[in-house]
Subunit: 160 residues, 2 copies
């Protein structure tokens, strides 16, 4: 694959651990939140753009699957795939893997499907992307359209 | 309704805010995580039980809908409904509302549907609830079975 997916790297901080020294569920979500910030920067939706347009990205809905325990101190990487987009929404999929090969696997430790909405914060009310951002969104969505549909996209939560 | 749903209350801390003074997505998740802890305590799955049985609750999957902005300093309450349960799983639904009536509404500001699994941490591998916990889980699930199905349960994420 020639195209490099957006990536975000972080290290699991002690204050994100539970009583047992493992990453608490909500802090997987925080790492995914930072990965969304990194995606926004890459699409030109950065602090400069926010100040100029008074627009920002709001998370309206997300889903996380917790697949493996992650220890405090672990280095993780999130790779982001755009599943779909329209004039003011991004449907994205984050996959988190361990960077240190100790566990000997590149299987994700957690994944998150998210719906992100472009919002004019003065309302707040939804707003179409600027033409410049829309160009970048369309280009990224087109490049990612050829990738395989991720395993945990489109899930409903229910007892087995 | 005679039966009181499990509740958890908290105040939105400054460090949970984004650049704009609103609760960041992941920290809604942290408040829901604390609400799950409160539910566990109520079902006898507390620190004493964990130490004795080496078992705990793992979140395997969750879904959050972010419905309204919440400001730093706001007081929030999470009410929890058990949607279903089996010998080692709990399917629950948390609804977060504002406690200060300034916004004049009891509509939820966020909701979270979650699948929780009882795990023997020595594996880790899934484990059936102890008989004492199972009694409490069954009683709570039966009491909640008569409640209306929540609006945001069973959702799939997709573009409209």
């Amino acid at each position: 694959m020639a195209y490099e997916l957006p990536q975000y790297r972080d290290t699991v901080r002690a204050e994100w651990g539970d009583y047992n020294g493992h990453l608490r569920d909500a802090f997987y979500g925080l790492i995914f939140s930072y990965a969304t910030d990194a995606l926004m920067d890459r699409l030109g939706l950065d602090a400069v753009c926010r100040a100029r347009t008074q627009c920002s990205i709001y998370t309206v809905e997300y889903h996380i699957n917790f697949l493996q325990e992650v220890k405090v101190g672990a280095e993780v990487q999130v790779t982001t795939q755009v599943l779909a987009a329209d004039a003011k929404r991004l449907h994205v999929y984050h996959a988190m893997t361990l960077l240190d090969g100790a566990e000997g696997s590149t299987d994700p430790v957690a994944v998150s499907e998210q719906m992100l909405l472009h919002v004019d914060t003065r309302g707040p009310k939804s707003a179409v992307f600027t033409p410049e951002v829309m160009l970048l969104v369309r280009a990224m969505a087109a490049e990612h359209a050829g990738l395989a549909r991720p395993a945990y996209a489109g899930r409903v939560i229910r007892l087995p």
